[in-house]
């Protein structure tokens, strides 16, 4: 946890460049996937492609962009019918399904490592909170646990403009997500996310 916070701060402090021009508002809309890591695999182990991500950045200068990132990721895994022991000694046979949705709301900073080029790599860091909707179904009966928890998201990616010096293009990124969510089977949720989307100026 400390390492993660340190990494996030380091990324913030190591701001180098940004795709954003001063005073420019840019938006990136992406489809996203995610692969659970660590204890999150106790709930869901499968990689998901059901998600999306919206990022709006304001260019503080020609190197740094700051803004807001909102995303959505749906995790789902159905386990075959099995018999579980209940605390009162009963045995329950059920198909168990874990359904987890995360909605991170992050203050985000992003920097371009090579502004103006045809390939524009960047690093980013986000900090904020995430709504976690965790439902465990026994058959069709859910036990729900919804929380709002601390969330961190360092990431990196590359922006590829459709034309040289263009401001509209494809954005491909990866990020590590940490959500401080505690529940019986997990002490936090972490997953590796990946995004593919389009970046464009948000103001005419």
């Amino acid at each position: 946890m400390k390492k993660l916070i340190s990494l996030t701060i380091a990324v913030f402090l190591s701001i180098l460049t940004s795709t954003a021009q001063q005073g420019e508002l840019r938006m990136t809309l992406s489809l996203s996937g995610a692969s659970p890591m660590g204890e999150f695999k106790n709930l869901v182990s499968k990689t998901t492609f059901r998600g999306g991500d919206a990022l709006i950045l304001y260019g503080i200068n020609d190197r740094i962009g700051v803004g807001l990132n909102i995303g959505f990721q749906d995790f789902y895994e159905k386990y075959p019918r099995s018999i579980y022991k209940l605390s009162d000694g009963s045995d329950i046979s059920a198909v168990l399904t874990n359904s987890v949705q995360t909605i991170p709301l992050l203050a985000t900073t992003r920097f371009n490592l090579k502004p103006g080029g045809f390939l524009r790599p960047y690093v980013s860091a986000g900090v904020g909170g995430a709504i976690v909707m965790n439902s465990q179904y026994l058959g069709e009966y859910p036990n729900e646990d919804d929380k709002f928890s601390l969330a961190l998201r360092p990431g990196a990616g590359i922006f590829i403009p459709f034309r040289k010096e263009g401001e509209v293009g494809i954005n491909v990124g990866v990020n590590y997500n940490f959500i401080a969510y505690k529940q019986n089977d997990v002490s936090n949720l972490s997953y590796l996310g990946f995004t593919v989307g389009i970046g464009f100026p948000a103001r005419n």
Partner: protein, 208 residues
Amino acid sequence: MSRIKLFWLAAVALGLFSCRKNVTDNLDDNETPLYITKQEPSVDFSSYSTYSLADSVAVINNDQLVQRVRTDYDAAFIDAIAAQMESRGFTRVSHSSSPDIGITVSRIYNDYTGIIDYSNYWNDYDGYWGSDYWGYPGYDYYFPPMYGTYTVTDGGVTVDMFDLKNAASNNQLRQLWSGLVRGSGTFDIDKVFAHAKALFDQSPYLEK
């Protein structure tokens, strides 16, 4: 930001939130039932030989016995339990023949009721008729509180076994085992054998 871009942003947001995989839509018919069983820990079922099944089913609604009936479904469920007991080595006898175990089947229904508050709904509509429409400008409306209710009924089938062999010495009808079937398909007559088998399959100790 142009309206077109706002539109696209809203469309994407809607798309994202609608891409949650629906859990219940992804359950097959045989995946919805829950089977819950519980035994009296100290019981050795091999010490019992005979059993009797009540020939009707108790219908219990919100903790109240409504009636005892024997519909086609009830008869099929009783027969399915009997088949499982026979397969485990127990012998069915009439209830007047001093059976070791008494078995009852019950259908249990519970209603869950919620309330929807319709009070002040007219305040949500700017176009609601003003009081001047009725010739009383400046007057306020008064509506008594109005509520709508909805009720959801959830049902299950329970099978209970009682110790008749030792009833006199125990001075009570001690429960030996109980099984519960719950979920969609519980009351499907074509599935009663599967339900009974599932209850017994997870109770391997239940054997003569």
